[in-house]
């Protein structure tokens, strides 16, 4: 067991000529909850997508749970099994029931027997408070329910780290709370979490650290109280003024 959940060192990411992540250094402790915010296009999604290598990086190193991502071999697959991800647009598999969505990855990648995968899936659906929807298809659910299924689906892989990319941005306002409550529960249970979100109430409630990104750089990071109470960077001050 290593002590750090994630270590990013001098990470640079380019889309063609565009420099999307600039010399990112970030260390995440086990059990730490981090909220990432910043203007649109600042590289927040790109940052968390490099952690499970949905986006490859051009230089630097990323170590997840002691496994170095760029070292090749089966490392990427191993890291992806330990890192769950929740997307803004849910990305549930529309041709499968809620239960099947939750069972697929454990059965295929962890080789979990069907009965055990189903039991796990039902347990996590219970935890996100929609056990009665197990037999339905995603299109039959509300946005908030779909996002909770997406969280359950990720949890069924028993990840040690969860990444969230604006999980409530696509939701109608009345459904934001049910998803945030699910995430808060998860945080209280000690899950290591990186959340891109502009829900500042959530940040205040659970974040150990809030990070502000702009133009591919981590501009400021601090505990929520100091982050919101006495922001130093001018762009962060403007940003907080806008979203308040």
């Amino acid at each position: 067991m290593t002590e750090h959940a994630i270590i990013m060192r001098a990470v640079n990411k380019f889309y063609g000529d565009f420099h999307a992540l600039v010399d990112i250094d970030l260390t995440v402790e086990r059990g730490e909850r981090i909220v990432i915010c910043g203007p649109s296009g600042s590289g927040k999604s790109t940052l968390i997508r490099t952690i499970n290598q949905l986006e490859p990086i051009q230089s630097g190193t990323i170590t997840v749970d002691g496994v170095e991502l760029t070292a090749g071999g089966d490392n990427v697959a191993k890291v992806r099994q330990d890192v769950g991800m929740v997307f803004q647009s849910f990305n549930l598999f529309p041709h499968m029931t809620v239960l099947e969505n939750c069972m697929l990855a454990p059965m295929k990648t962890r080789k979990t027997p069907r009965a055990e995968a189903e039991e796990t899936a039902r347990r996590y659906l219970e935890r996100v408070k929609i056990p009665e929807q197990a037999g339905k298809y995603p299109a039959q659910l509300s946005g908030g329910q779909q996002q909770r299924v997406a969280i359950a689906r990720a949890l069924c892989m028993k990840p040690r780290i969860m990444l969230f990319d604006e999980p409530t941005s696509a939701l109608d306002p009345e459904m934001v709370k049910e998803v945030l409550d699910t995430m808060i529960d998860l945080a209280r249970e000690g899950m290591t979490m990186l959340c891109v979100t502009h829900e500042m109430e959530f940040a205040r409630a659970v974040a150990d650290r809030v990070i502000f990104m702009d133009k591919g750089l981590i501009v400021e990071e601090n505990a929520p109280e100091a982050f919101f109470g006495s922001p130093k960077n001018e762009r962060l001050q403007n940003f907080l003024g806008q979203i308040a």
Partner: protein, 218 residues
Amino acid sequence: MIREFSSADILFIVSAVRWTLILSAIAFLGGAMGGLLIALSRTSHSKALRRMAAGFIQIFQGTPLLMQLFLVYFGLAVVGLPINPLLAAAVALTLHASAYLGEIWRGAIEAVPSGQTEAATALSLSYPDRMRHVILPQAMRVATAPTVGFLVQLIKGTSLASIIGFTELTRAGQIINNATFKPFLVFGTVAILYFILCWPLSLLARHMEARMRRAITR
């Protein structure tokens, strides 16, 4: 030596339908396997695979099916195989179907939102599992109607095999016409038989397309 058009002639033509069906089935099944490889190559990360598949499609979509038949037919002799019309027609039509189905299915795969691949990848599903369980089942819904549509084209396309001397439906008609010289009667019969094969499939394709549109606009 012209004789009357008899019921035996009709029977001869009708029984040639089975060769049209056999040839269509071989070309469709072969083309389905080839087409899947082409579609997967066209959507893969490997530039070399993408290029090769694109080149294959361009060659087979950019030349007449008849030339492909000729080249395979005479090509068999060049590589030392016996000249065999069924083999030549089956090979040429399979390559032809691979190119067209490959292109149809590439479009269907690309129509699946990229978030699906991302979610499956983030769940650590391997490429084969991702394709088999997530992407292809969704692509199939988009692809079935145009695939059945192409099958109709393929059945009609098998008539060209008559030119290299394979006795399917069209060539059976030519043989009877040479003996009876009743072109309207003979080829009318042949056309009706093609119609009976293709019409239900066309209806099915249109029905599936309408259902797809409804599912999308829902």
